[in-house]
Symmetry: C2
Subunit: 340 residues, 2 copies
């Protein structure tokens, strides 16, 4: 209301008739200060809408209470900008961070400088980082970690690294998805994805193992490397069916977006789902169950993931031990794979 001039701690202190040091401590409920004084200062602060100058506070305390969240995009793809799963994760992280008194600075790997340690941490923009996605190379992440940046990554928790990685059990997820299709009678199951991602590679291994356990050999032409986008999936399936006819009866997709693209291509060609081809996605984005047929998929608990990541990060601030963390993962069976 009355905003003649900016209200600083000094002015607030003057109003309260105390020194700035006392005022500062009073605002933080420091027991050094008499109860009555604390109350007076706090009341005045509320009355005049005082709020601490973050820049000054950060400079002095060397803490920002900000966490940089980086969407670690793959260079030529636009996966992350579009992918509802990753964005959902960001939403959950925002919640989880705020609950712990931290703010979320959003960035993606295209924008920030390559030297994350310097750009985010040494420059005091943030106290730590959460990197979403391991990308095709973990070079930048590794470098930041070596520079001592408090860091947590969303990715494949089985990867060797000197920072904690939070993620689902991708091997198991790939295994479950594939086994499920094989049990439903599929003989030639495609794997649609990109094994250059650590996560995808694990899923692929699960895919292979599932075949082995079922005593079904995997034909090499069932491994399809594509970008993790619905568009790429759509085009690939379209192309393949046009060229080879329907030479498969199941698809394990590396994300729901990929699954949706594949689904669309098949539907346009009047391929019956799941009668002719069964499909399993990955992520259980909100639209999976809205599809027709509803999409069978692997659900990863994003809320649990977000709080685990925040937890692992805060532990680093306190010098405690950290560890990679496996998020609950489960197969959600819906119509796209379930014969009547």
């Amino acid at each position: 209301m009355s905003s003649e001039t900016k209200l600083t701690l000094a002015k607030l202190a003057k109003l309260a008739g105390v020194s700035t040091s006392t005022a500062s401590r009073a605002l933080k409920d420091n027991p050094l200060i008499k109860q009555e004084t604390r109350r007076k200062v706090q009341a005045l602060a509320k009355e005049h809408n005082y709020s601490v100058n973050a820049a000054a506070s950060r400079l002095r305390t060397q803490k920002t209470h900000v966490i940089a969240v980086i969407l670690n995009l793959i260079d030529h793809t636009e996966q992350s900008t579009t992918d509802p799963f990753l964005l959902k994760l960001v939403g959950e992280l925002n919640q989880a961070l705020n609950a712990k008194g931290y703010e979320l600075l959003l960035s993606n790997s295209f924008m920030a400088s390559d030297d994350w340690a310097n750009y985010f941490i040494h420059s005091q923009r943030a106290d730590g980082m959460i990197v979403i996605g391991q990308g095709k190379s973990t070079k930048k992440i590794d470098r930041a970690a070596e520079a001592g940046v408090p860091l947590v990554v969303w990715g494949d928790p089985k990867s060797e690294a000197n920072y904690p990685i939070v993620g689902g059990d991708n091997y198991q997820g790939g295994f479950d998805a594939t086994t499920h299709l094989l049990q439903k009678g599929a003989k030639r199951v495609l794997f649609l994805g990109d094994a250059e991602h650590a996560e995808m590679q694990e899923r692929y291994k699960g895919y292979l193992q599932a075949h082995q356990n079922a005593n079904i050999s995997v034909s090499s032409d069932c491994t399809c490397t594509i970008d993790i986008t619905s568009k790429a999936a759509y085009e690939y399936i379209n192309q393949r069916v046009k060229a080879n006819g329907l030479d498969f009866d199941g698809i394990v997709c590396s994300s729901d977006m990929v699954a949706l693209g594949a689904l669309k291509a098949l539907k346009e060609r009047y391929v019956g789902i799941p009668s002719d081809v069964g499909i399993v996605g990955y992520d259980d984005i909100s639209l999976a169950e809205l599809m027709h047929p509803a999409l069978t998929t692997i659900r990863q608990n994003t809320q649990q993931a977000a709080s685990a990541m925040v937890d692992q990060l805060l532990r680093q601030f306190e010098g405690q031990e950290t560890a990679s963390y496996v998020v609950d993962t489960q197969l959600v069976v819906r119509r796209s794979s379930k014969h009547d």
Copy 2:
């Protein structure tokens, strides 16, 4: 690499054999400083990975180069956390802001204090705000604007306000969507949404006008107020069909998510789309075209929206005039409304 102790401007200056003021200016290519000196300092800075301390710089310059982006959620709904459209907008904003040298602090209306001016601006957390969504009440936004906060809102650009609002032409969008269905022969078109939102209300007005132009009267039981979520839409349609049978032949939805929910409910009851009921969504999220049938919808250009918002915000920093801005909006006809 060599991180004995934090590299400050002072140390860098010492390395270069100049004063901090010279070093500071040299880094900014200030013409006061001799070319040769500039180069030397800059080279040294690069060599030693120097980066300016943001906290100190912000304190001194009183500029943060940070923009707070607020997801203005509706209290009891979880619309924004889930809605791909809003998240996409955030992604685009991130791009647009970074292109202008700003960073994006993500927040939602649940977390931040109610006093945005104080929390974000006076506390020097950010230089300005972008609010996504007008919510059911613009009280908080209005208050912040009155307090002089540089501010842009995503919402209905026709709303009266003393801050710029960027958004599609919702009236036109609602009109086009409805007219399209009526032209396809629909007689009883539902409006699925919540008129408490300024944006939705405009769409609703367009819906009414379309009927009037077509000389078709609108039955009051065709106006359906629901939360803007696919779940609410699913349940509503489910309920309604169960209770009344199929007493409509078209639906204008206030978002694609709503449309998907409705679609699912109808499909489960074997209602033919578009043969029995035509559906039009709003937003053209990436999944709209992947649906089966692909969803007819109103597309709003999010990239244009993001850069318009950033532009309007930056204008305020420079004391220039601002104005609300209407983003390109177009009807995208797909199968969900198009009889063969």
